[in-house]
């Protein structure tokens, strides 16, 4: 496995826009240049390692998520109200912690430590599942897991961005998300495999919890052992940054020279603001998957009982498309792909509202939805990492991810209401129309992101 010992490409050039960046490699350090030139094509080991960490962690969390409704209602004998509460915690808890995790990571300059704590807290919550049988305790355990998830997202994505040459950013995020999604597909399959192998009752569920613990520990081990610590101290980084800048000469050397330091000012950058605004606008018109599946079920294309399979279908498409679309984003521009992803989403709405009654329509919706995720989830992190200096990267990424999460939350509540007031197809087409109108606005907002923020050395 090739593992980059360095966190960042150390490019002090204004890193170039995705479209024109090809071949712009800092010349100050021959070794580095040679390696990034040659290895840029390869997926950095850090990205693979973080991808594997996510794969194991997703196996751990999705295995439990898949069986939790049954465990709570059928095994613990609790009513739907209790389950709904636990589920709600699952959905909402991590948003606010995310920004905090990003800020902490940037501030301390130790993304791996913060990410490790995040993964560690989630792993700890898996251990606590074993002795816990009451609603209150179970809710606490679930909240703990989400807390850990919130904490780790920012630093993890910042590490991915740090390990990537700018022209491979989209591809590398794609690789990470593909591995992550593979875990999300494998988790439920393994969980139900274990349940069917073990006799009924509590023992089977405990076996799934043990599987979940083992997967979480494996994920932690990959993070701890295969992801390098910050390979370079601050002082050295500054010297190199200065050297890079000096060698590069022409393009905005000033921006790179100041030592990396976390500043609120970094977040006030126009580009980050535009991205936050665009992401929130698009998020507000993004209907949750759950609703889309319900539209399909109501249209008669597929039974309600196949809900879990719909999620697997979407994830499979996401898995297949994450890397190719990431590459595409590197070639034609990430902002363009992000916007294009939402055009695909409009198509998904239209297909669901019009041909959801046919199985072909159902498959098309799942494929389009997977395509939408491939074109947005990793890409938005790649964009965010370009919109802020490296020293504020984790905070920037976490802020944008939180904006997306919160706006989608608002959207789901709003769509639920719209659904009740009109018919489901009408509601979906209305949101689709609004999204189609919002796309050009977002595209305009995102125009500024063609030129990334100068990346100081990290």
């Amino acid at each position: 496995m090739y593992v980059s010992l360095r966190n960042a490409p150390k490019s002090a050039t204004p890193a170039a826009s995705p479209a024109s960046a090809a071949g712009v490699v800092p010349t100050a350090e021959d070794h580095e240049a040679a390696r990034s030139g040659k290895a840029g094509r390869r997926v950095p080991g850090v990205v693979l390692a973080l991808g594997l960490t996510s794969l194991f962690t997703d196996i751990s969390s999705e295995a439990v998520t898949a069986i939790l409704p049954l465990y709570v209602t059928a095994v613990l004998g609790l009513g739907p109200a209790a389950y709904g509460f636990v589920d709600g915690i699952y959905q909402g808890a991590s948003s606010l912690v995310r920004v905090l995790g990003g800020w902490w990571s940037d501030r301390s300059g130790r993304p791996k430590l913060v990410a490790f704590l995040g993964y560690g807290v989630s792993a700890l919550s898996r251990f606590l599942l074993l002795p816990v049988t009451g609603v209150a305790a179970l809710t606490g355990v679930v909240a703990l897991d989400r807390l850990g998830k919130g904490l780790r997202t920012g630093p993890r994505d910042a590490m991915i961005a740090g390990a990537s040459t700018p022209e491979r950013l989209g591809r590398n995020f794609g690789v990470h998300r593909a591995l992550d999604t593979a875990g999300a597909v494998a988790g439920p399959l393994l969980a139900f495999g274990v349940l069917s192998a073990v006799p009924a009752g509590l023992a089977g569920y405990r076996a799934v919890f043990v599987l979940s613990i083992a997967a979480a520990v494996a994920g932690l081990a990959v993070l701890l052992l295969a992801v390098p610590n910050r390979a370079r101290g601050r002082a050295e980084a500054q010297v190199l940054a200065a050297a890079d800048a000096a060698a590069d000469g022409a393009a905005e050397p000033v921006a790179a020279v100041p030592p990396e330091r976390w500043r609120w000012r970094n977040l006030a950058d126009r580009r980050l603001r535009s991205l936050l605004l665009a992401a929130s606008l698009l998020g507000l018109l993004t209907v949750g998957d759950g609703f889309l599946y319900l539209v399909l079920a109501d249209a008669g294309g597929i039974g309600l009982t196949y809900f879990p399979l719909l999620m697997v279908g979407t994830n499979a498409a996401y898995f297949a498309l994450a890397v190719p679309i990431g590459r595409l984003a590197d070639r034609i521009g990430r902002a363009r792909v992000l916007v294009g992803g939402h055009v695909v989403l409009v198509a998904a709405y239209v297909v669901a509202a019009t041909t959801g009654a046919h199985i072909a329509g159902v498959v098309a919706v799942l494929a389009l939805l997977g395509c939408f995720y491939a074109a947005t989830d990793g890409v938005v992190s790649a964009l965010a990492s370009q919109a802020v200096p490296a020293s504020s990267r984790a905070t920037g990424i976490a802020s944008v991810q939180t904006a997306v999460g919160l706006s989608r939350f608002v959207s789901s509540v709003g769509f639920g209401l719209l659904w009740q007031l009109t018919s489901r197809s009408t509601a979906l087409l209305a949101v689709g129309l609004a999204l189609a109108l919002a796309v050009p606005v977002a595209a305009r907002l995102l125009r500024g992101l063609r030129t990334p923020v100068p990346q100081d050395a990290s």
């Binding site: 049954l70 709600g88 049988t133 509590l202 309600l304 009982t305 639920g416 659904w419 009740q420």
Partner: protein, 358 residues
């Protein structure tokens, strides 16, 4: 990454995989050994039990018969039990018919409601959407109500959605959410998040009681099937159960602020409106069943690692006494006091239509 680190990582992952596999195999074998060596549940023939007053329930004795439909005579509720051939998540029965809500696990779990005849054998089956939660029948077996719980309905909020369907002689009526519900102030409940669950029928085959919920509030409602209308009687009373004489309703009283999952059992005198808290002080999440006009039954999971096993408890309906176990290793009780002498003429196959939430 150094060779040494890679080796350590490989070892850790191999250990994790090995641990899981060994654990699963060990649990599997332990289960097989227990099933082979455990004294079999003492059983008696079903026909004999059904001939006298009895309790129908879901067997929760760990082992191969876990989840099976079962029955014991009221004269000896802790003695040998009769086991049916089908497994149920919830079960209910009257002297002429029964209903069994089933689930099959797996990636795409499927749920169904099975109609049972007087011998508790399956006669027909209809698909059901969502996790089974409650099942009830009218005394004559004509009306069947099921509540299932569909998480997909509420994607984003800390709430849940139920689908409660009443079937009349097997034919599903529309979801209760599409019926008219009048709140105590005379307003109609039209909130998008309204939910209904836990139906109990009166002997007239028209009146029923149920729980309505919207936002953080839950109401006890009295409804009319003919008029497709429900009226709220009081708040914070969930999962009602009407006494055989029709004079009391037993329910879970929600305590204090909307802290989900904290209830206290209570009964309501329908003529005086007086509410009585029962002697059971533990948190019970079940729809009660009346043993007679003065005693209620409910299922209660055991504590800690025995949580998969539950017992059916009894407690006086007037707040006196202390709870005692009526049927060990049981849940979802249904009391059948008259013998199965009524011919199963009211049996009709369940229609295959279900009505999920609009």
């Amino acid at each position: 990454m150094t060779r040494g680190r890679l080796a350590v990582l490989g070892l850790v992952i191999a250990a994790c995989v090995a641990l899981t596999v060994v654990y699963v195999l060990q649990v599997r074998q332990a289960g097989e050994v227990r099933a082979a060596t455990a004294p079999p549940v003492a059983t008696v023939p079903m026909a004999g039990v059904l001939a006298a007053p009895h309790v129908v329930f879901r067997n929760t004795t760990l082992g191969t018969d876990y989840g099976k439909l079962a029955a014991v005579p009221l004269s000896d509720t802790t003695g040998p039990r009769a086991l049916g051939s089908i497994s149920c998540e919830r079960v209910y029965a009257t002297r002429s018919a029964g209903v069994c809500v089933t689930s099959s696990g797996g990636m795409a779990p499927t749920y169904a409601v099975d109609a049972l005849d007087a011998d508790l054998t399956k006669t027909s089956s209809a698909a059901l959407a969502g996790l089974p939660s409650r099942a009830r029948m009218s005394v004559d077996g004509r009306l069947v109500s099921t509540t299932t719980f569909i998480s997909g309905h509420s994607y984003a909020s800390s709430s849940f959605s139920t689908a409660t369907v009443i079937r009349v002689e097997g034919k599903a009526l529309s979801n209760l959410e599409s019926w008219t519900t009048l709140l105590p102030d005379g307003q109609r409940l039209v909130a998008a998040d309204r939910n209904f669950w836990g139906v109990t029928f009166a002997p007239d085959d028209d009146t029923f009681y149920a729980t309505a919920a919207s936002g953080g509030t839950t109401w006890l409602v009295r409804g009319s099937i003919k008029e497709r209308t429900m009226r709220a009687l009081r708040t914070d009373a969930e999962c009602p159960s009407l006494s055989p004489d029709g004079r009391h309703v037993a329910y879970k009283k929600r305590l204090g602020n909307p802290t989900p999952g904290v209830w206290r059992l209570a009964t309501l005198d329908l003529t005086t409106g007086a509410e009585t808290l029962l002697a059971e002080t533990r948190n019970v999440d079940d729809q009660m069943e009346w043993l007679d006009d003065s005693t209620v039954l409910y299922g209660m999971p055991r504590a800690g690692t025995e949580a998969t096993t539950s017992d059916v408890w009894r407690v006086p309906a007037d707040g006196s006494g202390t709870p005692t176990v009526l049927v060990p290793n049981a849940s979802s009780p249904a009391v059948v006091t008259a013998s199965a002498t009524v011919p199963a003429a009211t049996q009709t196959p369940l229609s295959s239509t279900t009505t999920p939430k609009e």
